[in-house]
Symmetry: C2
Subunit: 237 residues, 2 copies
């Protein structure tokens, strides 16, 4: 486990201690961080179950289009389903303001220098959302393809968003995240004509690290492919 990000760390030794600092103490404390997170995640999961809430944890690189996907999804589903959103960002409430404009309840979490949401933060945010009147909760994580992979928030699924502008090799380069996700939204497909992006190669790479991953190809800008994603949401996974 890496002392600097709290993630499990295998097959390399850069944090093995060369000058005698407390390795045992480090391991205990880091294990405690994830164990404690898992306790809070279990609490969130129980709350979701008790209230029939389908909770999704949206993860991606910065700028892959999570917020734009949410804006369009919330507008298009609002007639049928009661949605709410938790917005995670290092700074600014830009995204929360964009979501609030759709009329859906939203709670912002600013992580400051923090690199991911944890289950404790989400639990606090839930106290300020109408959990008794909610069918789907979208949790938009901090834009980061590494650290959020290790933190269970109590969600039903991690949904990884990958924009075609990022290159088809990302599932292999960030395997923890794609392995942790069981749904992938391949976004910005309206830009494919202007890019050298091999869709089939990307899907093959995603399936290599996460066999059985459910993949939707879409563009939140043009609307292409959104219907299949909505169908999946309406069936609640």
């Amino acid at each position: 486990m890496c002392t600097t990000c709290g993630c499990p760390e295998e097959g390399h030794d850069h944090h093995h201690d060369h000058d005698g600092h407390l390795p045992g103490t480090r391991i205990t404390i880091e294990t405690d961080i994830l164990a404690k997170n898992n306790r809070y995640a279990a609490g969130n999961r129980a709350l979701f179950k008790a209230n029939g809430i389908f909770a999704l944890n949206l993860v991606s690189s910065p700028g892959s289009g999570k917020t734009t996907i949410l804006e369009r999804t919330l507008c298009d589903l609002s007639g049928n389903l009661r949605c709410a959103v938790i917005e995670g960002d290092q700074q600014t409430d830009n995204d929360a303001r964009r979501i609030a404009a759709t009329g859906v309840p939203v709670k912002q979490i600013n992580t400051g220098a923090g690199c991911h949401l944890d289950a404790h933060m989400v639990g606090h945010a839930l106290e300020e959302l109408p959990t008794r009147e909610m069918d789907i909760l979208f949790i938009e994580n901090v834009g980061n393809l590494v650290c959020p992979a290790s933190f269970d928030l109590g969600e039903a699924h991690k949904v990884v968003v990958l924009s075609v502008t990022e290159g088809e090799d990302k599932p292999l380069k960030y395997p923890q995240m794609f392995h942790a996700a069981d749904v992938m939204l391949l976004n910005k497909i309206d830009l494919l004509p202007y890019l050298d992006f091999d869709v089939e190669k990307c899907l093959e790479m995603a399936r290599r690290v996460s066999p059985g991953i459910r993949i939707f190809q879409l563009s939140a800008k043009s609307g292409q492919g959104m219907a299949e994603w909505y169908e999946w949401l309406r069936g609640k996974g």
Copy 2:
């Protein structure tokens, strides 16, 4: 300071401990992580100075085009300057192989689940590179706009790469990184005709969090704007 990423953490309390775990011990250990990193960074910096090496730490989101920028830069500068590269990735040696194809010395670091390079890893990689015959060292960090901001590798400058496909608001949403960088490469400008991206707004936001930041607008794919970047590199910043 956040126990899970090792980054300084201000103005929020989610990691304040609610059930009695060793907060004092945590702070001591986390401070130690950055202090230890800074000692290794000082060692790297001394080595760079002794050998006249101009070292740059390239940071960005996954898929912003760091490797493509490097490939083109190395090919175009190889007649004049002796370059070398350290490649940081969670997994795969794809990028290192792309760099090796340019004929430039390259050393791969796989961080596994780790979310950033640290100065200790870089020091080890330097042992396997020809530091006596090197004018510029490019360190390509793990694609992550959060955690690498806190880790000095001994570089002269952090160079943040932002692709226009990521949206103009990223400097405000990831202010630690843009504040830590004093050079920004705004990449993929060949795609501007197909996007809603406000260049002036982006530059203004970057300057708001990092006054005096040096900005190059370019496309590693079309070659547009690369000459100004090369001129800056030849003058060694």
